[in-house]
C-alpha cells in the first residue's frame, strides 16, 4: 500500500473500515461460492437470502441498539414470539386489519415488553444480563399461559398475511427486491442516521463507552437506557411481524433461540460487546454475512448440513478476534498521533465480564 493510500485509509474511521471489510467478505464469499456451486449466482438464491435474513437483521439492529450502551438483551427471541403470537391472534379476530395496523400492533407489543426490561435495568439497577435472562423466561411463560398450548393457524389469518413475504417492489431479471427486505433496510438506514446525527444517539454511545464519565458529564443515563430497551423491544416486535408473515402458523415457542443469533450477528458485524462502538449498518452486514454463509454452505454438496452451527461458531470467533485486533491497532495509532511517537497504549487488560455485562449500579 502506498503512503498516499495508507493515509486515505487511515482517515476512514474504524467503523467504516469494519463495514468495508464485512462488505468485502460478503462479496468475496459470494464470488468463491459462485465459482464452484452450480446455479449459485441466480435470482432464486438472492431472493432466498434476502427474505430469510430479514428477521435476524432486524433483531441484530435491536441488539446493537442495546449493546451500544453496554447492555444486552437476551429476551428478544421471546419478544418475537409474544408479538408474533399476539399479532396473529389479533388478526384472526379482526380480519379487516391491514399490514400497517398489524405492524403497529406488533411493534407496540414489543415496545411494552422492552419497557419492562428498560425499567428494571435503568431504574431497578439490575444488570441487563440478569434482567433479560429473567424476562426471556417470563415472556415465554406469559405467552404459554395466554395460548394455552393452542397455535394460531395460518388458515385463520387474513389472506394478505401469507403472501406478504413474497411482495416485490422491484424485479430485475429474476432478482427480486422483496418488500420485507426493503423494510429491513429502511429500518437500519433510519436508525443509523438517527444514531449518527441526533444527540440521543451520540449519548447512547457515550454511556457505553465510559459510563462513569458519562454520568459525571450529566448524561441522563436511565432515560437513555430506557429508550434503547423500548426501541429494541419495538424492533423485536417488528421482527415478530416478519416472523408471522414468514411462518403463518404461530406456536407459543415461536422465536426460541433467536436471541443468540442476534448477538452473534451484531458481534460479527463489528459491534463491540463492551459498548461504545460499532454501527447499525455493521450489525446488518453481520446478519447478512451469517445468513449468506449458512445458505451457501447448504448448497455445497460435500459439506453436510450439520456443519452449519459449527461453522457459525468458528465465524463468530474469527470476527471477534479480528475486531479486537483492529480495535487495538487503531487505539495505538490514535494514541501515537495524539501523544506523539513515544506514546504507549495504556489499555486496561480487564476484559472480564464486569465491563461487558453493563447496567450495574455505578456507585457501588
Amino acid at each position: 500500500m502506498t503512503s498516499a493510500t495508507a493515509r486515505r485509509f487511515r482517515r476512514l474511521s474504524p467503523d467504516r473500515v469494519k463495514e468495508l471489510i464485512l462488505l468485502g467478505i460478503i462479496v468475496g464469499s459470494v464470488v468463491v461460492f459462485g465459482s464452484f456451486v452450480d446455479g449459485y449466482l441466480s435470482g432464486r438464491f438472492f431472493n432466498r437470502v434476502t427474505t430469510s435474513v430479514v428477521i435476524v437483521a432486524i433483531l441484530a439492529a435491536a441488539q446493537a441498539l442495546v449493546i451500544f450502551s453496554r447492555n444486552i438483551d437476551l429476551s428478544v427471541g421471546s419478544t418475537v414470539g409474544v408479538s408474533a403470537y399476539l399479532t396473529a391472534d389479533f388478526l384472526t379476530a379482526n380480519t379487516w386489519a391491514n399490514p400497517v395496523v398489524a405492524m403497529i400492533i406488533a411493534m407496540a407489543v414489543g415496545a411494552v415488553l422492552g419497557s419492562l426490561n428498560g425499567l428494571l435495568v435503568a431504574y431497578g439497577r439490575v444488570p441487563a444480563i440478569i434482567v433479560t435472562l429473567g424476562t426471556l423466561a417470563i415472556f415465554r411463560t406469559l405467552i404459554s399461559l395466554y395460548s394455552g398450548g393452542a397455535n394460531v393457524l395460518a388458515g385463520d389469518l387474513p389472506d394478505w398475511v401469507l403472501g406478504f413475504n413474497n411482495l416485490t417492489v422491484l424485479s430485475i431479471a429474476g432478482f427480486d427486491l422483496r418488500l420485507v427486505f426493503v423494510i429491513a433496510v429502511a429500518v437500519v438506514v433510519i436508525l443509523q442516521w438517527a444514531l449518527r446525527r441526533l444527540r440521543v444517539g451520540r449519548r447512547l454511545y457515550a454511556i457505553g463507552s465510559n459510563p462513569e464519565a458519562a454520568r459525571q458529564a450529566g448524561l441522563a443515563a436511565p432515560r437513555l437506557i430506557m429508550v434503547s430497551f423500548v426501541g429494541a423491544g419495538a424492533l423485536a416486535g417488528l421482527a415478530g411481524f416478519m416472523f408471522m408473515v414468514r411462518a403463518g402458523t404461530i406456536s407459543a415457542t415461536a422465536g426460541s433461540g433467536l436471541e443468540l443469533e442476534s448477538v452473534a450477528a451484531a458481534v460479527v458485524g463489528g459491534v463491540s460487546i463492551f459498548g461504545g462502538s460499532g454501527t447499525m449498518f455493521g450489525a446488518f452486514l453481520g446478519a447478512i454475512l451469517i445468513d449468506t454463509l449458512e445458505l451457501s454452505l447448504v448448497r455445497v454438496p460435500e459439506v453436510s448440513e450439520f456443519w452449519r452451527d459449527a461453522a457459525l461458531g468458528i465465524l463468530i470467533l474469527l470476527a471477534v478476534i479480528l475486531d479486537a485486533t483492529l480495535q487495538r491497532r487503531f487505539t495505538r495509532r490514535l494514541t501515537r498521533e495524539v501523544r506523539g511517537p513515544d506514546a504507549t497504549d495504556q489499555q486496561s487488560s480487564d476484559r472480564s465480564l464486569s465491563s461487558v455485562v453493563g447496567g450495574g449500579p455505578v456507585d457501588e
Binding site: I72, L120, G124, R125, V126, P127, I129, I130, V131, L133, G134, T135, L136, A137, I138, R140, T141, L142, S144, L145, A252, L260, V263, A264, V267, I273, F274, S304, F306, W307, R308, D309, A310, A311, L312, G313, I314, I316, L317, V320, I321, A324, T325, S348, S349, D350, R351, S352, L353, S354, S355, V356, V357, G360, P361
Partner: protein
C-alpha cells in the same frame, strides 16, 4: 434463604411425603448432572468470567464418547476418557482464546455454545446412539452410596471440594481477587491468565463429565443432548448470591440456590405446572433476587437523607 424456607414450607403442605429420603433423591432427579456444572460455574463467574458453552460441551463430550464407543474397537472406558478429553480440550480452546487475545468470555463462549453444539451434530448427525453395556446404564440409573445415584455422589463430593478450595484455599482467594479487579490482581503477582485458563479447562472437563453421566442416565446420546441447560445453570449460580460482575459469592449460597430451584421445580411439577411456566417463575425469582436488595438499599438511602436534612439547620 427466606425463599428457600417458604418453598420448603409450601412443599411440606403440598405433600406429607416430603421429608422421606426417597423424595429427597427425587428432588434432584431432573437435574442430577446440571448441578455438577453449577459448582464449577460458580468459580467461573466469581472470577469475573462466564461460560455459556457448558451445555453444548456436555453434548459434545457425550457425542465424542458415543462415537468412539460406536466404532466397537475400543472398550467403553476409553470412550469415556475420550469424551472427558474432548470436554477438557473444548475448555482449553476457549480459555486460550480468551486469555491470549483478551477477548470477552461472553462472546467467546457464545461462539463455543453455537460451535460445539454444531460439532456434536456434525459427529452424530441425526442419529441417536445407544446400545451401551449394562454397567454404563447402571452407572447412570442405579444407586451407588446408599440411595444416592452416582451423579449425586459426585455432586456432593464436588460441592465439598469446591467449598474447601474456594473459601479456604489459596486458589480460591486468587479467584476472588481476579473477579474483583483483574488488573490489581495482576500487579499483585497473581498469574491471572493461568488461573482463568485453568478455570475454563476445568469447566470443560466438568461439563464433559456431566454430559457423559447424563448420557448414562438416558441410555442414549443425541446431538441435542442437554440443549439449553446453560440458562438454568447460570440462573442457579446467580440466584445463589454470586455477583455477575465477579468478586463475591459463596458456595453455601449457591448450594442453597440449587436446593431452592430444585424444590420449586419439584413442587410445581407435582402441582402439574408446565415446565415453561416453572422456568418463568425462576426468572421472576432471579430478577427479584437482585432487584429487591437494590430497592431496599435505595429506600434506606432516601430515608437516611431525609433524616439528615430534617436534623440539619435550615
Amino acid at each position: 434463604m427466606v425463599v428457600l424456607a417458604i418453598t420448603i414450607v409450601i412443599n411440606v403442605l403440598l405433600s406429607p411425603f416430603y421429608f422421606g429420603v426417597d423424595n429427597f433423591i427425587n428432588l434432584f432427579w431432573l437435574s442430577n448432572e446440571k448441578i455438577i456444572v453449577v459448582v464449577i460455574m460458580t468459580f467461573v463467574i466469581i472470577s469475573g468470567e462466564i461460560d455459556l458453552s457448558v451445555a453444548s460441551v456436555m453434548g459434545f463430550s457425550a457425542a465424542v464418547m458415543a462415537t468412539v464407543h460406536q466404532t466397537g474397537s475400543f472398550p467403553l472406558v476409553v470412550a469415556i476418557l475420550a469424551g472427558l478429553g474432548a470436554g477438557a480440550i473444548a475448555g482449553l480452546l476457549q480459555g486460550w482464546v480468551i486469555t491470549r487475545f483478551a477477548l470477552p468470555s461472553l462472546v467467546v463462549t457464545l461462539a463455543g455454545l453455537i460451535g460445539f453444539r454444531g460439532a456434536a451434530r456434525v459427529i452424530l448427525e441425526d442419529e441417536s446412539v445407544g446400545d451401551f453395556p449394562a454397567w454404563f446404564d447402571a452407572m447412570g440409573q442405579q444407586t451407588l452410596l446408599g440411595p444416592l445415584p452416582v451423579a449425586l455422589v459426585i455432586f456432593f463430593v464436588g460441592l465439598a471440594l469446591a467449598w474447601i478450595t474456594l473459601e479456604r484455599g489459596a486458589f480460591g482467594r486468587k479467584v476472588y481477587v481476579i473477579g474483583n479487579n483483574a488488573d490489581v490482581a495482576r500487579f499483585s503477582g497473581v498469574a491471572v491468565d493461568s488461573v482463568k485458563l485453568r478455570l475454563f479447562v476445568t469447566s470443560g472437563l466438568v461439563a464433559g463429565l456431566a454430559g457423559i453421566l447424563f448420557a448414562a442416565r438416558l441410555g442414549s446420546v443425541r446431538g441435542s443432548l442437554a440443549e439449553f441447560f446453560e440458562l438454568d445453570i447460570i440462573t442457579m449460580v446467580l440466584l445463589g448470591g454470586v455477583s455477575i460482575f465477579g468478586g463475591s459469592g459463596t458456595m453455601f449460597g449457591v448450594a442453597l440456590a440449587v436446593f431452592t430451584v430444585l424444590n420449586i421445580r419439584n413442587g410445581l411439577g407435582l402441582a402439574n405446572v408446565d415446565g415453561i411456566i416453572q422456568t418463568g417463575v425462576i426468572g421472576v425469582l432471579l430478577i427479584a433476587s437482585v432487584l429487591l436488595p437494590n430497592l431496599a438499599r435505595r429506600l434506606g438511602q432516601v430515608s437516611a437523607r431525609r433524616r439528615a436534612t430534617a436534623q440539619a439547620p435550615p
